[in-house]
Point group: C2
Chain length 422, copies 2
């Protein structure tokens, strides 16, 4: 099939296009008239189609030239589809089982055809519904450890890393969104901000006057832009994870770039904490959600501990890169020195995780893009009560990092802060 210029696909367009992609056509089976196609996208940026044929299914994701949530008035580079594809290709050798299988990428259409994940649902939706996914936190901890370790220069010569740094340095429209919406606008009265008003007016104003907190947030903004440790997903919240009770997959890496590992860690942890604080707004029937809350906190610990153990083990086994070179740390004393260096490195990742988690939490309550965990709470008083707990916890993480030396410190603080803030 000759390449056609970009066009926004509809249901018929998807059918026509896939009929020309041999691998996908075979996978679906039958004739194109047999294929059921439906648009299911609910994200901010893309069209998502599910295609079911007699023999198999597929998912097609197409980038739109504007922010879907805002409409054509907010244009957005189509190149993000390419970076999503590049990210998946880069990490597939290390986390292949934790991402969708990729069938086809079509540059002109800025679309990717991939495995249809079924019966998976978005982790965020599951958490809101009060369901448990016993593998999710462990799988994502493992995912971040593997994807980040192997794309860092702990694992490989820096030359390979710099090639990839240069490639993803072009993903600027997506990085611009992060820089503005996460690290700047929530901290002043920017036009795109919104919050539950008037209930949170005072909390928002206080946070925006808090010099210590703002310095910390800006410091993490600086880290985000000046610390290419590894290829990060860039948007690893609970809406970018699809789950069943026995499987987890990471999707939507269009924000991918070389940045601090703590940014991915913080995205996932921060969204677990948002979920925790939102549970009071989803009490129903006889379920007060206390057990679910306890489970979520336990998963936060499992997430960090899994990441920590896996990352350390990978470093011990595959630390063949230019950072902390093996040749420098020979013998028994050298091994001990290197072990200590690893502990120091992990301690910084832990602190980064908490700081980035806090930034992610704040932006979902005071910034432009909110999360269903809170948006799904109809009563604004109840929603504000939940949000104010999350906001207070995030503020504490930024203001008093020295209070959080280990993950148990976080687990203990979360319920305390909730009762203070409510």
């Amino acid at each position: 099939m000759a390449a056609k210029p970009y066009r926004v696909l509809d249901v018929d367009g998807v059918r026509d296009f896939l009929a020309g992609v041999t691998e996908v056509r075979r996978r679906l089976g039958g004739r194109m008239s047999d294929w059921r196609v439906g648009e299911v996208g609910d994200g901010n940026l893309n069209l998502v189609f599910i295609i079911e044929g007699p023999e198999g299914s597929a998912c097609l994701k197409q980038a739109l030239p504007y922010v879907r949530a805002a409409g054509p008035g907010w244009p957005m580079s189509l190149e993000r589809a390419r970076f999503e594809n590049e990210y998946f290709r880069a990490v597939a050798p290390y986390v292949g089982g934790l991402i969708p299988a990729l069938y086809h990428f079509e540059p002109e259409l800025h679309c990717t055809v991939m495995e249809r994940l079924s019966p998976h649902i978005i982790l965020r939706h599951g958490l809101i519904a009060g369901r448990r996914y016993p593998r999710a936190a462990r799988d994502i901890g493992e995912y971040v450890a593997r994807a980040c370790f192997f794309t860092s220069d702990l694992a490989q010569p820096f030359e390979r890393k710099l090639d990839a740094v240069a490639l993803f340095a072009d993903n600027t429209p997506m990085i611009r969104i992060t820089v503005d919406l996460i690290f700047a606008e929530p901290y002043y009265e920017a036009p795109r901000n919104r919050h539950t008003a008037p209930q949170l007016d005072r909390a928002a104003a206080e946070l925006r006057r808090d010099a210590t907190l703002k310095r910390a947030a800006a410091r993490f903004g600086e880290k985000f832009l000046t610390q290419p440790q590894a290829l990060v997903h860039g948007d690893l919240h609970s809406g970018s994870v699809m789950v069943t009770v026995s499987d987890s997959r990471v999707i939507d890496p269009e924000f991918a770039f070389y940045g601090p590992i703590g940014f991915d860690l913080g995205a996932f942890l921060g969204n677990l904490l948002l979920s925790w604080y939102s549970q009071g707004g989803h009490v129903s029937g006889g379920d007060d959600r206390e057990a679910h809350r306890a489970w979520i906190l336990g998963e936060a610990k499992i997430f960090w501990e899994t990441f920590r153990q896996r990352f350390m083990a990978l470093w011990e086994q595959h630390g063949n890169g230019d950072l902390y070179p093996r040749a420098m740390f020979q013998g028994q004393e050298g091994a001990a020195a290197l072990a200590q260096a690893r502990e120091d490195y992990i301690a910084v990742l832990f602190a980064d995780m908490l700081g980035f988690a806090a930034c992610k939490m704040i932006r979902r309550i005071l910034g432009f893009a909110h999360v269903l965990d809170f948006e799904g709470i109809a009563d604004p008083y109840l929603r504000a009560r939940c949000e104010s707990g999350a906001l207070a916890m995030a503020a504490l993480l930024l203001r008093s990092p020295q209070r959080f030396r280990c993950i148990d410190d976080v687990l203990q603080a979360v319920p305390q802060i909730a009762s203070t803030a409510v």
Copy 2:
């Protein structure tokens, strides 16, 4: 003139080539047979020709396809000439008066034609000779402040910085030299190492067993590879600065890349300290070099203070980038918070400067490439005594960073360490 493939230029080749470069031909004046051409390069990597015509002069620097100091057995990418050119172009708007005027760049020949600096000499040679250059430290402090500030995302949108990050990410052969020769090999018994033996055998062995010191050195190696704060020169020692008593120029930026600002600061400071420790080897006539030593330490302070003040002032005046965005720090409280953030930032640069200075000092004594400050001391016992002082000071900087809170702490320690080590 049609482009010719790469060839190593000789005196006649230089004449032929420049006859075809209109701007340079006019500048030199007369006919090509009137031009006096001489090769004067004494560096590790390049040919350098001085061309004098009836009306003007020029300097031509050509990259060789191997490390000059090692011979054709150690090949080296010619692309470094392009990066030198790109660096000069990038910083010229900010430090134009502190670099040579650029006349012409010839990609195929990997050569740059630039201003002949006269009667400038290499700062290192001046320091060895016991001469004072009252502008040098102040000028280089100003240089690093301006070149680094304006190429950081403190001054500009991150998109512009990332374009430049991607460009310089290709300068891998030069970065490889730094990674291996500065941050790895000095810390183990690598084949390319050498030191004054047997006098320094014990000091070398002790340093290579020192777990705390090696972790610190590896941590600075990590910073070097994972912290693109600004476009750094990458080799800003006293051999990359040409001076008269009233003028200073920075040359030889072929190691340019996006890295930590402290790397340039540390290169200059570290080489001032090497000069200080080498002075005892250059006592002659009635000059015990004590006054020169005191002057050098004073210049070290002037260097840091100038950098600090200029960098802060530039940030206050031109801080329009994405880091610490102005919009976040409005009003009186905001201004105070931002001022504190700047102090924090500068404190990290200070600590980085000391750590990188130490790494630079160690590699010049235990690694592959040494400096004339010590190499020019014929008596190995005397040389080893000088070197051991510098080595002890560098080790202290890496082992006990908490002892050095301000530049005066460094100034006080330097003479103390000398008397202990000697």
